[in-house]
Subunit: 550 residues, 2 copies
């Protein structure tokens, strides 16, 4: 038996009156580059439920084997949901049969999802040219399938595909499809801008007109082909839609779907619509990044509300004003969506930005104009050669403290906790096809010369392993330090070949308490990685020294 | 003397009646990660002029040394413009002096730009709290500066900063600033959503109200903090604005600005506004990607209109319908903006997608269901291990032809044009700090065993050089083949360390006639690169064989 109790969203002040409906796992998975495993899908659903969305569309059971398995594992207890109802997506029955006999409709029932969203064509041209049937039969397919599923105790929503184009072309046909669904017991008529060609003013007008003509509960589903998916979704809500379909970070086919986080950010902070449980909005940034991690897509740094740059200020002009009055320059308080204001250190940064950044890092620059001047000059010089400190706070802090120590002899200069004599990395692809990386480092640490050799999966891994082997007996804190992320960016193709270019490496390290990021730049990817590794250790050594009482 | 002839846009059917105004070089340059050289700025301006925008804001002369130099070199003849007028951006005079005596205003004149855009605060809170003056003095600063510059023969636009927040808070104050500018001879009052907090319905209403109350010519400048910059810009035009400020690809501070390409795409294809010279819209995709290249930012694959995924179809459902009727599934013909429809090969792809893709690549799959089945299985298996064929058409074609040859003995199997025995790469960081990479390959080619050693800037470069040295005497076509791009993606952090992960490498090759992309995946970055290099040569060898008459 189906649990209908879970088919109504719990936990938001608005209850069933307003639906936040996520389709990351179905429509979002169509984005180029995304390939969710079943375990990924379960993890995504857990994060979305934790955030408090009302409905999670899990996939198309019966059509995709992974989706069938996802629903089976969810039904078997692997996906206990606190806030959301699980939704199975599927098509209305085929022409020339009945819903009860259609195996695809049966697969929807078998999924045990309490809610089913049926997609139906609502543009006469699609009905005639792609479905190769007539409007009467299309409406009958909707009526039969909705009635059957409602009769089986499911809550049903209708996704009216290509609705806006269809309504412009033949409004009566499109409304006939909606009516067939709603009269048969569907709860929401979701107007889909399937090819994403709409603009907000026109879309809002259509949504308002459909509601006025039918009195139906209307939902909205937008694609981003005009770069207006978020705007269109919000405009539809302003025009009366009370159910909004989105995907995490706007993932989806072609230009993508409406971004869940921007839509929620706008609904909550601009329209005052309490679409999430209390407290959940402070989780938006964390959940967005976690979902990007699972999708294995680098988070969009410039994403509205949740991007790492969304509240980052670079212009010297703004930075000096921000010192006076932060709320003059941010449209909302970044903390309300779990994000932070950041000041960027770049060659464009003025003295005020640098001072603010120093303050953020706990470096006292007051009364040290010369150190600021020198640090600005050095940043400018290094950035011209490919360095970037915007994402590498730890490397920037080292640079800043070096400049201070260069002027003020009472300050300690941060140092790499060893001296490199040389390293060698050997990579062998042998006759038997095996590939082996081996690195040897020769270093001085605590006055002793140490030579160590280690193997690794790749050249950088081997080098890191050899360095740890050499240093670990001398630096007791090293065992706590892990490299948690490693990013490579090829900057410019110099010379004749693409492989002959400058490489920037970002290394993220962790000691279980803190995470810090360092940068290295070189024509050789291994040397660039080495430089970032050295900065990572120098930064940790500085913290250790300070903690000991330096 | 200033050329005022160039201060009116030439080449669009709309002439001066509608302004496409680009501020990539000023506001766009504030994006985290962008750092334009003066040569970059000149190259950006040439591309924008070629596209046919009406105005190019080049920077803030007097405030940033690079911008001063940019205008000097433009004035010296390095930037002949066909369509656009060059614009210098600057602030109104300071409080307590006159425009004629303000060195910053003088720097605007010295730039010799025929058009000057002045930014002025138009929110009373900013005037009082950041500018620390009153509304009367703020209006006087505008009046004095505009009059002075107009008297010197310049065309002047006013950027009314934080206009929408200011107008909501104290409309009379905000209108007083606009009026001071327009009565002194400014041509356009540009309403700026500086902190990007607006939504389209409300913004359109304000724009309409301002035009109704003042009769001024109004422009729009939007930031993307609600993910609505494009929608807001287009809504403003629908409400009567006739001047729209954008940046290439939406580059800009925080979440960015309104994307020039999406705004133009919408104006031209949705509103029928001929905002670019005839023929220019087919250049949108090319210019967008070229500008990303100069900014050294990977193009956004999911960007509306111009992204490589903007017309890419992945879903099996859609792909089979597209075979019937492409226009049913795209909101515009991709060719009108210089883009292409693509079908993606992924594990989600059905047989129809694979067949379409084969057709696109010139591989005949008709009547070969078994080859399709095998290829689908292989794609699925490889993608599960980190491969991705979406961007690597050449590797996919090799896979497809291998499967066909495996079934049909009359078809030739593509082969790597040599056999690898082994390779070794040695990387030395020496005592003197120098870093050297050396590679040795042992291969069989044309029945001979060849050993070659070469150096390179990094391990992959050295390996490529050694392989070329070994093969070049035997494969005459190899000298035409270049590696033109090289991308590295770290896929998943396995094991304890970030450097211990699976690496995917994409290699783009060119033989001056064609470009093709291949992929390699391995735990070792050098081996992953090697696999992609081998595919690149196998693909070229296949073409050579076909051309010879195979």
């Amino acid at each position: 038996m189906t649990s209908t109790a879970r088919s109504v969203p719990a936990g938001t002040p608005l209850g069933d009156a307003f639906h936040v409906y996520d389709t990351t796992l179905r429509d979002g998975a169509q984005r180029e580059g995304i390939s969710y495993s079943v375990a990924d899908k379960l993890a995504v659903a857990r994060l979305l439920d934790g955030l408090g969305v009302g409905f999670i569309e899990g996939g198309w059971p019966g059509a995709l084997p992974k989706d069938t398995e996802f629903f089976a594992r969810a039904a078997a207890g692997e996906l206990p949901l606190r806030h959301a109802a699980l939704v199975a997506f599927g098509s209305t029955r085929r022409a020339g049969t009945t819903a009860a006999r259609d195996p695809q409709v049966q697969a929807l029932l078998d999924s045990q999802a309490p809610v089913i969203t049926l997609v139906a064509k609502s543009d006469r041209r699609h009905i005639e040219r792609a479905l190769r049937t007539d409007v009467a039969e299309a409406a009958e397919m909707v009526r039969d399938t909705v009635s059957f599923l409602v009769g089986q105790g499911r809550r049903v929503f209708l996704d009216a595909e290509h609705f806006f184009d269809g309504y412009a072309f033949d409004p009566d046909c499109s409304l006939r499809v909606l009516t067939a669904a709603m009269e048969s017991g569907a709860d929401v008529a979701v107007l889909c801008d399937t090819n994403g060609g709409q603009l907000p003013l026109g879309l809002a007008e259509t949504v308002g007109e459909v509601i006025a003509r039918t009195g139906f509960r209307v939902g909205i589903h937008c694609q981003d082909d005009t770069s207006c998916a978020v705007a269109n979704s919000v405009a539809a809500v302003q025009a009366g839609a009370s159910h909004v379909q989105c995907t995490a970070n706007g993932y989806g086919e072609r230009a993508g779907n409406a971004d869940l986080f921007a839509v929620i950010g706008n609904l909550v902070t601009k329209l005052g619509l309490e679409a999430l449980p209390t407290g959940a909005r402070a989780e938006l940034t964390r959940v967005s990044h976690a979902l990007a991690e699972i999708a294995n897509i680098a988070p969009d740094t410039h994403q509205a509300y949740v991007g790492s740059s969304a509240f980052a200020h670079k212009a010297g002009l703004h930075a000096s004003a921000i010192k006076v009055d932060p709320e003059l320059y941010n449209h909302i308080d970044p903390g309300t969506v779990g994000n932070d204001m950041r000041v960027l250190v770049t060659e464009m940064a003025g003295r005020a930005s640098l001072e603010l950044k120093g303050h953020e890092l706990g470096v006292d620059l007051a009364g040290r104009p010369e150190a600021i001047t020198n640090a600005l000059r050095k940043v400018k010089d290094l950035e011209a050669r490919g360095w970037s400190f915007e994402a590498a706070d730890a490397s920037f802090e080292l640079l800043l403290r070096e400049e201070i120590a260069g002027i003020d002899p009472t300050e300690t200069e941060p140092v790499t906790p060893f001296e490199l004599e040389s390293y060698r990395v050997i990579l062998d692809h042998d006759r038997d096809g095996s590939v082996v990386s081996e690195a040897t480092v020769k270093v001085r640490v605590n006055g002793q010369r140490v030579i160590a050799t280690a193997e690794g999966n790749g050249p950088v891994h081997a080098l890191d392993a050899a360095l740890r082997k050499a240093l670990s007996p001398h630096l007791p804190w090293l065992d706590d330090v892990e490299l948690t992320d490693y990013k490579v960016r090829i900057l410019t193709a110099g010379g004749d070949h693409g492989t002959d270019a400058v490489t920037r490496v970002l290394v993220q390290s962790s000691d279980r308490e803190r995470e810090w990021t360092t940068v290295g730049v070189h024509g050789n990817i291994v040397e660039a990685s080495w430089l970032a590794l050295c900065d990572a250790l120098a930064h940790k050594a500085m913290r250790v020294r300070t903690a000991v009482g330096g």
